[in-house]
Symmetry: C3
Subunit: 265 residues, 3 copies
């Protein structure tokens, strides 16, 4: 059973606190989307307080988009604290594959604490899986790889849910593979849609221990809102504004009508 709308309702009812250590480019977008889903976002990143903030939180989202040596230390402390508390950690490997620094920091984070969900575009996730790839800054490069297999194998190896975002999203927990084909092309042409996806995944994982289904359900809801927003938008500006509108008005009918989690393997 998918129970996508039930999951959304649980987010709205529980209003989980989702702590972020993220980049300053899309921080507003990530906070907005988390709030619009009915949760409560917070974005502290000083090493002196992240552990205590995590102790209040229901999920931790880490995004390496503008990582530096200071926030790296905070990420490690926050991750360990999240493990200790038993709340899920979502790692958005934003820009992995573009620089050595980013690749190394990702690896060090994954060695330092347990990650429940790792999320990226195809070239970011392929980098994490050990392929020698160049990501174009924070946008995906073309990668010749079977993404179903990539997600499943990496999930197995990491004992974590792997999410590969794109026109088709792939989610795997190492056993099952799910495909989500909701969404619209315009989401790929807008800054922050990838980062927001990680926030939404963190928000759903905060209230649901089946992290693969939580992540897949998060993407479905988020992307259905995107489909709805496209209908009333005149371009990327009004689309982003509309996306925030449509999230708070997601109804059972729209979610159930359009849900498209397909089990691939």
């Amino acid at each position: 059973m998918e129970k996508i709308f039930e999951r959304l309702e649980k987010v709205r009812k529980n209003s989980p606190l989702v702590h972020h250590i993220t980049n300053y480019v899309t921080a507003t977008d990530c906070a907005d989307i988390t709030k619009n889903f009915g949760a409560s976002p917070v974005m502290a990143d000083a090493k002196e307080e992240v552990q205590e903030m995590v102790a209040l939180a229901d999920a931790l989202v880490i995004n390496i988009g503008t990582i530096n040596t200071f926030t790296f230390e905070s990420m490690k402390l926050a991750g360990v604290a999240a493990n200790k508390k038993g709340i899920p950690v979502v790692l958005d490997v934003c820009g992995a594959g573009s620089t050595t620094f980013r690749n190394e920091k990702c690896r060090e984070l994954m060695k330092t604490f347990r990650i429940e969900v790792i999320k990226g575009n195809i070239s970011e996730i392929a980098t994490i899986a050990g392929f020698n790839i160049k990501t174009k800054g924070v946008d995906a490069s073309a990668v010749e790889v079977d993404k179903y297999n990539l997600a499943k194998k990496l999930a197995e190896e990491l004992s974590a849910v792997v999410v590969i975002t794109g026109a088709e999203d792939v989610v795997s927990n190492g056993q099952d593979i799910y495909s989500i084909k909701n969404g619209t092309n315009i989401m790929g042409r807008i800054v922050g849609t990838g980062c927001m996806a990680a926030s939404v995944i963190g928000t759903f994982c905060a209230v649901d221990e089946d992290y693969a289904m939580a992540a897949a359900s998060a993407l479905v809801c988020y992307e259905i809102a995107g489909e709805n927003a496209e209908k009333t938008s005149d371009g990327p500006g009004t689309f982003k504004t509309g996306l925030l509108d449509k999230i708070s008005s997601l109804s059972e009918i729209s979610v159930n009508k359009m849900k498209k989690i397909e089990k691939i393997g």
Copy 2:
């Protein structure tokens, strides 16, 4: 006399420079709203330049939303420089009550320089007043306390204007207590409305030495714009965009018709 619209007109005419040391999550929102009120926002936070920037400014807004040890040093230098110049300092105790670091840093700031207005939600302000409370990240927790009394007593103790934001805002200078009931529920469901309120308060205090009435008038104007924005919005996305629109079009009629500063005590 309330003279709310006169105060707004004075902001528009004088276009004060409002220096901010704030968080990176809502910095854009704060800059936007300050500018839309007709003022000029600036957001420098390097310790090497904040004193000189404050020397140009007409008000200083400090928000501890993503405070760290570097910006803390800059906040102290900026606050002292503002005191020296005689311009008002507004402190938004964003997230006070969530971590020890935040609570301590607030206390240290308040010991280092004089604050003209302190602003927070009910659990943030209760924390500052010494109650042992947990704020949910940056969102208010329920607090059983008489907020009129809390505002008045804390204002007296700190010799500063205290602003408690919420569905009903309370403003006190330690003698008088004002209540503002403008605004709309959606403002509580959007990221940045609290931070923006502090920017607007700073903007009004920049041109008016009656800081209690300036703060109350700022909230009335801001929240009337919110009421106007709600009428044309389809959700939180278009609401935020509309809010920015409605600020620049605030007219004497709308402000005077709807103003609701009520003297409580």
Copy 3:
């Protein structure tokens, strides 16, 4: 020949990677506008990775809006790497003239690496040219100066293209002087329009070695989108959203009908 639309089409076709080291207030706006022009923005600023990120990029945009000693080091490394790779560097001297720190850091940057385009408002550029001026934070102060001559002389001195933005933009490469009168007053009343202009200039320079014409064409396209956005906006909020819409829908007809690069000298 102006070939403005051809330049826009080249941006859209090549989708250059535009690396930014910029401020956290308008970073989202800058990323959004760069993406909407069809390019790929990235905003890393850790000194450990900027050189490698620049090595992937087609242009580098540096904005000193919230510069500090850490990002200053990264800016120097990035600028030198950009020179080495031969990609254009656009320097937005945001807030020059407001503090000694900013003025000195600008000078040091310009000594450390070669700049292809320097961009600012009238008081920022006059500061760089050695006039003793106070910029009002990041907003222009009135300056009594012949801006055509200022642009030309400074361009000659720096061997760089100089762009002075305002109701009339002036662009000079030290030989020719161009005037652009597109745009609308509302662009001056909105946060981030100046920073976004630098991003757009960097985006056009990424695909075109005639930096003066690339900069001028960038401004024309950006400002025509602004004119189009004004027609459908109700104020500064919907204007900014509309601006992002209108960039992706810029057509040959609208660009050619309205282009207004005038050769002054």
